[in-house]
Symmetry: C2
Subunit: 90 residues, 2 copies
């Protein structure tokens, strides 16, 4: 089980979560191309793939395989602990 905080530490991974928030259930290639559209300096496919592994291991992304496609879905439930760990934050 990965660390949610460490998963959120990288700006590329946060951009991936933004992207999935905007359009849930994308494939690896869709995420790659849409990231290069928005931010000029897009990461490589392998880099994004490894970021997705980190996000999945932290429970922030769930995946479903269909044929040769693999769809990625955001899961925000692990974020709840962050909001409640240090009080005075409502």
């Amino acid at each position: 089980m990965g660390d949610v905080f460490k998963a959120l530490a990288d700006p590329t991974r946060r951009a991936i979560l933004d992207e999935l928030t905007d359009r849930d259930g994308q494939t690896l290639f869709e995420i790659c191309t849409r990231l290069t559209m928005k931010h000029g300096s897009g990461s490589s496919r392998q880099a994004i793939s490894q970021h997705l592994e980190v996000l999945e291991s932290a429970g922030l992304v769930r995946t479903r395989r269909e044929g040769r496609y693999k769809y990625h879905f955001i899961d925000t439930s692990p974020l709840r602990n962050i909001a409640t760990r240090w009080p005075g934050n409502q």
Copy 2:
């Protein structure tokens, strides 16, 4: 200005925030000794000092100098953005 997410990525820094939540306004040495009490393998003074710099640069810790003492106070307001950045998280 530092990155709030990167500041939260390190477990020692999160332990410092826990410690300040438990008892706000501690000096560097108080934080060091209380961290070594709870978790056996306490970090060195310099390590904690550098962690505090990161937390302060991220806006999670504010400081007040009085004589030779420097008091550290937690500020949870930067955490609000985290809770609201990715919806479906109330």
